[in-house]
């Protein structure tokens, strides 16, 4: 048992806006209290108390992440931690090793973490790494946007049979991979690239099943709805990173309007085109549309200047990035499912493109009115490492600080962005929403992201400083499942978190023709495909609906 006293509590779900409250913890949960007088006390005087952070989109485990680590040993040479009696060693400042990932997230006050893109065939790998990512509860999203079984089901002419088959495939994929959500990455575009064809638009028929990106996205959105998944489709739209892709993103939003959808790393999809064909911010138009569509959520994908690594299932995007920049390029096509690519990158303030991207991400976060629908992310490590969150929080909370960075950017950035005109500053409550309560709600996690009775006792306590970067850079305390993991900024205990999965309303079964198709063309036997329960030793299944 544990009582946290004297802290200023920010618990937006329960409408506590910075008042001094006691937080009572018994076993793994938050309780009403009172607790017996001999209960251990944490005095949070001068501190801010928030629910544990919830990371909605990060690349931390699995094939492409490890590919990224393998690709750049030079990122590890100067960034390492020695092991201690409690902690495992680790290295790499861009794509940290698994243990280090868990420790660093914990030190930032996070307790729940989702790996954003897992190809079904490599799901075991992701779970193996998540098992070695300590402290946090973890889950992963299953990549489906270029999956043959999905596309084959969508190709079914009869509507009822199409819906049934698709629901079977999606449920089967989620079950087989122990996934938490439907992830869509460049729907149809990755498959098209494997045929050495160009980029796809909403209505481009994609071989071999002649389904279109529009059919894939709307079909999966509907299936996610029908399965009552706690998190809707998690969508990385086509045309990532192209100037002018804002128009395409708006088209996609129109196509999906009315159904729930999460638009991930929206910054990468919100570019207007300058007169000369270059990058300009499309934040105003995107935010305007988005503000009027309460069915959508998004995460920002904020840019962090410095070296990092791009990694995505969007293989064609990575290839064109490689063609543009040269240097290292890793690619992995995954049979019947998707592709993936990894390219190291360095964002530089004196590059006009990077400066526009940097402004654009912040603009989105400042122009989207409802903090419950836009979340802090760097699409780690694509736009920057998650360890930069404290800096980003300060940029959101402190306009003067933001402008001091703005002054260091490429001078022409003013012509293509509107960041200069935005005076909004995030409050601590809004920060609590965009880093924990909002993502928890968007993920349908009812016991996380708040401090009401019944919630998991996942609590972050930050020392109050005017300098918000300093404040959020290291939690004074992190309590996970009622256990004090971080004390005075140092990790005192480490253990395995839970694996978040789904309790689906239907059993995932492949229609006969799809199963036959799988057996004929996959190189893995049907019975060996499904991820066994051994890979999620501490499961927590979230009920759908």
């Amino acid at each position: 048992m544990l009582r946290i006293i004297n802290g200023k509590v920010y618990d937006p779900v329960n409408r506590i806006h910075g008042e001094i409250r006691d937080i009572c913890i018994r076993d793994q949960k938050i309780v009403e209290g009172p607790l017996p007088p001999e209960t251990e006390i944490i005095d949070a005087k001068g501190c801010v108390v928030m629910p544990g952070g919830v990371e909605i989109h990060s690349h931390v485990a699995g094939a492409k992440v490890n590919n990224g680590r393998m690709l750049c040993p030079e990122d590890s040479a100067d960034h390492f931690r020695a092991h201690t009696e409690i902690l495992r060693s680790g290295c790499n400042g861009v794509v940290p090793t698994t243990f280090l990932t868990g420790y660093e997230y914990a030190r930032l006050g996070y307790t729940t973490l989702f790996e954003a893109a897992v190809p079904p065939l490599k799901a075991r790998h992701a779970h193996e790494e998540l098992r070695d990512t300590p402290i946090l509860d973890t889950g992963c999203y299953t990549v489906m946007g270029n999956n043959y079984l999905v596309m084959k089901a969508l190709n079914e002419p009869d509507e009822i049979s199409r819906r049934e088959k698709l629901m079977g495939v999606v449920a089967w994929l989620l079950e087989s991979t122990r996934g938490y959500a439907v992830k869509i990455v460049n729907p149809g575009g990755v498959e098209n690239w494997k045929w050495n064809r160009g980029l796809v638009d909403l209505d481009t028929p994609v071989p071999p099943f002649d389904v279109t990106p529009r059919m894939i996205m709307t079909g999966l959105a509907r299936t996610a709805y029908e399965l009552k998944l706690p998190h809707p489709i998690h969508l990385h739209t086509n045309h990532l990173g192209e100037p002018g892709n804002m128009a395409y993103t708006l088209e996609t939003m129109k196509a999906l309007s009315g159904s729930r959808a999460h638009f991930t790393h929206l910054q990468f999809h919100s570019y207007d085109k300058s007169k000369r064909g270059g990058f300009a911010s499309g934040a105003v138009a995107i935010a305007e549309y988005f503000n009027n569509h309460p069915e959508f959520t998004c995460d920002a994908g904020l840019i962090v200047f410095g070296p990092t690594m791009t990694m995505t299932a969007d293989a064609p995007m990575e290839f064109s990035l490689h063609q543009m920049k040269g240097g290292k390029w890793s690619n992995l096509d995954i049979e019947m499912e998707t592709g993936s690519g990894v390219v190291p990158i360095k964002y530089q303030p004196d590059s006009l493109v990077n400066a526009v991207q940097w402004c654009l991400g912040l603009e989105l976060m400042l122009l989207i009115n409802d903090p419950w629908r836009v979340f802090l992310s760097t699409d780690h490590p694509n736009a920057g490492p998650f360890t930069s969150y404290p800096l980003l929080i300060k940029l959101l909370m402190d306009r003067d600080f933001r402008m001091s960075w703005y002054e260091m950017l490429h001078p022409k950035v003013k012509e293509y962005t509107c960041l200069h005109d935005l005076t909004r500053e995030y409050s601590l409550e809004e920060i609590a929403i965009v880093t924990r309560s909002g993502p928890a709600r968007a993920l349908g996690l009812k016991n996380r992201g708040h401090l009401g009775a019944g919630a998991y006792a996942d609590v972050a306590i930050y020392p109050f400083f005017d300098d918000k970067q300093k404040m959020f850079s290291s939690a004074s305390y992190l309590i996970k499942d009622g256990r004090v993991v971080v004390r005075d900024g140092a990790i005192k205990e480490s253990f395995s978190g839970r694996a978040l999965g789904l309790e689906l309303p239907v059993k995932g079964e492949l229609a006969g023709d799809l199963k036959e198709y799988f057996e004929q063309y996959s190189t893995v036997a049907f019975s060996n495909y499904r991820v066994e329960e051994e890979y999620t030793p501490r499961p927590e299944l979230i009920r759908c609906g």
């Binding site: 485990a61 094939a63 992440v65 490890n66 680590r69 393998m70 690709l71 750049c72 040993p73 590890s76 040479a77 390492f80 931690r81 020695a82 092991h83 009696e85 495992r88 060693s89 680790g90 290295c91 790499n92 090793t97 698994t98 243990f99 065939l121 490599k122 075991r124 790998h125 193996e128 790494e129 070695d132 690239w193 494997k194 045929w195 050495n196 071999p208 290839f319 490689h322 063609q323 290292k328 390029w329 890793s330 690619n331 992995l332 096509d333 995954i334 049979e335 019947m336 990894v342 390219v343 004929q520 063309y521 996959s522 190189t523 893995v524 036997a525 019975s527 060996n528 066994e532 051994e534």
Partner: protein, 433 residues
């Protein structure tokens, strides 16, 4: 009494990097009695999996498991520069324990890839690699190049399951719809079954890859069409370059003939750049013909836990990487290690004799299911339940697809993972008190 017959289907053969997962195994009274669908090597391995187990020994004398583990802990905790080595033929679950033991001991850890396909990993660290899973080869590839490898003898079912005669989605005719090219220094069964065998002089992989890069990209070269590169006329290489540019989905499988011939990692580096540049014209990929069943998994585990796929040193408490300096051959050749924990590999058979000899002069703890050259001289021998036969766990196929290998019979022995966990716990205990 009737004998109990159990038939296991979709069993995964753990012998080579193919990890064929369609094997049928019959077990009668806990003995494997029949193996179907596997290749000859795989069948033999499975049929003999339960025989010829070594005894638990210290210095050749039989002892108890407890005493052997204590002796192992004693040796490891007293060593001043210990080596943890192997990983290639056991589960990732065991490999994870090995990494942790190496870390607790501040030891050096390496796997056999450092003298097999490690150069390919080092090359990837310089330039990356465009690759794909084996199912993409089966379903799509219309051009397959075997370079410095002979899968018909080393990865027997590779050709039928994945790369040559497999009937894929877009190649329903299998063999007929693919062009098969092999590049090797001598004729092999694989080269004989290819459409085009390019016989080259030894040690010239780098020159070939260099020339192909120039020909594919139309870069100037300082040689005429009749000049010989690796013993083959430039004009012939130009034909190959044309074939490469003209295919729809091409794959190079490269073997030790590429990674271990003169130049080693720079051969693969040049090959990887070649493959990358071909993608300016068409889709093209390369894949290493990984040998031992889970050598790929060993690289994966080491990378997610330490940041590096092989040759990692923990002397300073954190991982550092440098093949050559911290890889097994260099360490042994320079006689730098003073004790070794070896799991799931046979250094007595695989390492060059002169380097391997140092192991005979230092205390060696050896976990292994079968008698082999190393069990003859290792200081502490602990027999284990063989992964994929008497122990389950994760293996990574040569294309890094993870599969769960099954336990189909019971063994008297613990698995690698279980023995390593006990060793780890006692080391931790010994260091704390």
């Amino acid at each position: 009494m009737d004998q109990e017959l159990k038939v296991h289907s979709d069993v995964i053969c753990t012998f080579c990097g193919c990890l064929c997962d369609d094997i049928e195994v019959e077990v009668v009274d806990n003995r494997i009695s029949k193996v179907k669908k596997a290749c000859m090597i795989g069948r033999n391995k499975l049929m003999h999996a339960q025989s010829n187990n070594p005894d638990i020994t210290i210095a050749g004398k039989p002892t108890s498991l407890d005493a052997a583990i204590n002796e192992a802990v004693n040796i490891l905790t007293n060593a001043r520069f210990p080596l943890v080595y192997g990983l290639s033929s056991t589960t990732t679950e065991a490999q994870r324990e090995m990494v942790e033991i190496a870390e607790i001991l501040n030891a050096t850890i390496d796997n056999p890839s450092s003298y097999c396909h490690g150069p390919g990993l080092m090359a990837r660290q310089q330039v990356g690699l465009s690759s794909c899973t084996l199912g993409e080869v089966k379903n799509r590839a219309d051009l397959v190049i075997f370079w410095g490898c002979n899968p018909l003898e080393s990865h027997v079912r590779h050709l039928t399951r994945y790369s040559v005669s497999a009937k894929g989605m877009f190649h329903p005719e299998g063999r007929k719809s693919r062009k098969i090219v092999s590049i090797d220094i001598r004729p092999t069964p694989t080269t004989k079954s290819s459409d085009w065998f390019i016989q080259v002089t030894p040690g010239n992989t780098f020159e070939i890859a260099t020339l192909l890069r120039a020909l594919v990209a139309n870069n100037p070269i300082g040689k005429g069409d009749d000049a010989l590169i690796a013993g083959v006329a430039v004009s012939k290489w130009r034909e190959l370059a044309e074939m490469i540019r003209g295919c729809k989905y091409g794959v190079i499988f490269f073997g030790l003939g590429v990674t271990q011939c003169r130049g080693r990692d720079i051969n693969v580096e040049q090959l990887a750049v070649l493959v990358s540049e071909i993608n300016n014209h068409t889709r093209f990929y390369a894949m290493a013909m990984r040998g031992h069943g889970n050598v790929a998994g060993g690289n994966q585990v080491m990378t997610w836990q330490t940041g590096f796929p092989l040759a990692v040193n923990f002397s300073r408490g954190y991982p550092r990487y440098n093949p050559g300096e911290f890889s097994v051959i260099g360490l042994l050749a320079r006689k730098e290690v003073d004790a070794a924990l070896i799991v799931a590999t046979d250094p007595g058979a695989h390492l060059p004799a002169d380097t391997g000899d140092h192991l005979k002069n230092i205390p060696v703890i050896y976990l292994e299911p079968h008698n082999n050259p190393t069990t003859e001289w290792a200081t502490v021998v602990i027999p284990v339940a063989q992964a994929g036969v008497a122990a389950s766990g994760t293996y990574y196929r040569m294309d890094n697809v993870p599969l769960r290998v099954k336990k189909i019979v019971d063994s008297d022995h613990l698995s690698d993972e279980e023995v390593l966990k006990r060793i780890k716990e006692r080391i931790t205990h010994a260091q704390n008190y």
